[in-house]
């Protein structure tokens, strides 16, 4: 399955990525390859089989409403690119 350049740009926009024209071409090729690979699945005949949302026959895995340990700051912010010790700092985002 071949993705169009417009589709690649749309996905980039949704992912908040800005791509140069040559990157768009690169991702167009790579993403198309991935989709072609996955497309192999549709060769299977699924007639008469109910759509499944889940492959493991499980239901109602629930927990009790009891609080447990939360993270201390040093763990929470361990991988954060930037922090003031209490918040994650991110480049200013305008209104949603």
């Amino acid at each position: 399955m071949k993705l169009s350049k417009e589709q690649v740009k749309h996905i980039a926009l949704l992912s908040r990525l800005s791509l140069t024209e040559d990157k768009v071409e690169m991702f167009q090729e790579q993403l198309s390859d991935i989709l072609t690979f996955v497309e192999k699945l549709s060769e299977l005949d699924t007639k008469g089989i109910d759509p499944k949302f889940q492959i493991i026959p499980q239901e109602n895995v629930l927990r009790k409403d009891i609080s447990g340990m939360s993270f201390p700051y040093e763990k929470t912010f361990m991988n954060a690119p930037e922090t003031n010790g209490k918040h994650f700092i991110v480049p200013k985002v305008v209104k949603k």
Partner: protein, 486 residues
């Protein structure tokens, strides 16, 4: 051409569980930023969500109270978008198969007419974190993920609402029900309840739907009404001027009282929903459903009806009492230990007790006044031990401020009503000396002036005795004394 508005509301309500929906972090407003977080709600790779049973039960409670059909089987989905307050870059929600559908609530318009607003669906989802923006010189935003993972229900109405007032009434009714059944704290300012409105207009009587605009995140009852009022006006003006409403998301600016474009259809989000593979289907069987039903209290509308029927209260008084479940229970407890008319108890609670609580900035639950104390106080009035005025102005405020039983306060402060005639005669005589003008007025012979003078003198005696004199006795006694001393 006249236009009519078509409005549908999407209300997000936080559930009052102790912990988050998919992890065991505390679900608590106002804690230090990022203290209630763990690998699950931080979206760390390899962590897995596990659904909170209590969150399901609260959501189902809400759905039953809103007359919904509960789906025995429902699934969760991922809704994708990029924003710093959403660490996984997807929100776990329900999409194809929500747990509840086809409900309704009834609102009552100002003129007493009732209207049923249908509810299309209710689904469970997780809340996002909070992003704080620095001032205009600050190039940063600050992310607090304490709220991320707070359990929510999203309640989606059908477009059955036709005026800004109805929208407010619907939201208020929804709030009252959710607070009543104990699943939400009703605090709009803290964001416990948030509302998005879908608004369109069409020529009056038409059955076609116009293009709608969505207004995001309106956070007070007053603003819901005002934002919708503004938006309807904007759309009508636009169409009358030959323009067209475009499908878009708009933001309400409460300071300017306007709505403005946030994003247009072209920029609309593309959420790429798919079933959440980390969560198995949720099955609510009849046994579980029944046990949740049993745990629900009688709903406010039913209690209100009972108050009107059993206690002969006016519909208005009953409505005031059922605005808060604790208050309704307080009233019933008062009535059960009071032998007088329930209506008297209702009046006293609504106009006096609530008034004093309000003045003292106290909630019913933090005042130490018990229902039986109110009943005792009312009985003291009925028996003539204290006057109603003393009960309202001296005893009740003391009870609210410092606690204590009515009878003790009466003894301590010497508030027993003076009903002894010879004692009252002495007091009246003194009052007559001090108020010659009124005495003259009485003696002028004019009936109107006479009544007026008596009323004035009763007031003076009441003032003199700080409300302790029995006004009923004074009413006969004052003319008697005046006539005898002529």
């Amino acid at each position: 051409m006249e236009f009519e508005a078509v409005i549908g509301l999407e209300v997000h309500a936080q559930l009052l569980t102790d912990t988050k929906i998919f992890c065991s972090c505390k679900n608590r407003f106002g804690d230090s930023p990022n203290t209630n977080v763990c690998p699950v709600c931080l979206g760390m790779p390899g962590s897995l969500p596990v659904l909170n049973r209590k969150a399901v039960e609260y959501a189902v409670k809400a759905a039953i109270a809103l007359n919904c059909k509960i789906n025995s089987s429902s699934i969760f989905a991922r809704k994708h978008y990029f924003y710093p307050d959403l660490p996984k870059a997807y929100q776990i929600t329900q999409y194809e198969l929500p747990f509840a559908e086809h409900g309704w609530i009834e609102i009552e318009n100002g003129d007493g007419t009732k209207k049923r607003i249908r509810i299309r669906r209710i689904h469970m989802e997780e809340d996002a974190g909070k992003t704080l923006h620095g001032d205009s010189f600050d190039q940063n935003s600050y992310v607090d993920l304490n709220r991320a993972g707070t359990p929510l229900v999203e309640i989606v109405s059908e477009p059955d609402i036709s005026s800004p007032e109805e929208a407010r009434l619907y939201m208020q009714k929804l709030r009252d029900i959710l607070v009543w059944i104990g699943v939400n704290d009703g605090n709009l300012e803290e964001g416990s309840l948030r509302c998005d409105a879908n608004i369109s207009i069409r020529p009056e009587g038409s059955d076609k739907l116009g293009t709608r605009a969505e207004i995001k995140n309106v956070n007070s009852f007053r603003f819901i009404q005002k934002a919708i009022e503004y938006e309807i006006g904007r759309q009508i003006k636009l169409v009358k001027g030959g323009g067209e409403v475009v499908q878009e998301t708009r933001l309400y600016d409460s300071q300017k009282n306007i709505t403005k474009t946030m994003r247009t259809k072209e920029e609309a989000e593309d959420y790429r929903y798919f079933p959440e593979p980390d969560l198995p289907p949720l099955i609510i069987d009849s046994q579980w459903l029944d046990s949740i039903k049993e745990s629900l209290p009688t709903l406010p509308d039913e209690v209100r009806g009972r108050f009107v029927k059993d206690y002969s209260l006016t519909s208005y008084d009953a409505s005031v009492l059922v605005r808060d479940r604790k208050l309704a229970e307080f009233f019933e407890e008062t009535v059960s230990s009071y032998s007088g008319e329930p209506k008297k108890a209702a009046n006293f609670i609504i106009s006096d007790f609530l008034g004093i609580l309000n003045e003292e900035k106290k909630e019913l639950s933090d005042a130490s006044v018990k229902a039986e104390d109110i009943a005792e106080l009312l009985l003291l009035v009925d028996k003539g031990v204290v006057s109603l005025r003393v009960a309202k102005e001296d005893i009740l405020p003391e009870m609210v401020k410092f606690g204590g039983k009515p009878e003790e306060i009466v003894k301590k402060k010497g508030l027993i009503q003076i009903s002894d005639e010879s004692e009252l005669i002495n007091i009246v005589k003194k009052a007559l000396v001090k108020n010659e003008k009124a005495v003259e007025q009485y003696r002028s012979g004019d009936e109107k002036k006479k009544t007026k003078a008596v009323k004035f003198l009763i007031g003076q005696v009441m003032k003199e005795t700080r409300g302790k004199a029995n006004p009923k006795i004074l009413n006969d006694l004052i003319p008697k004394v005046l006539d005898e001393t002529e």
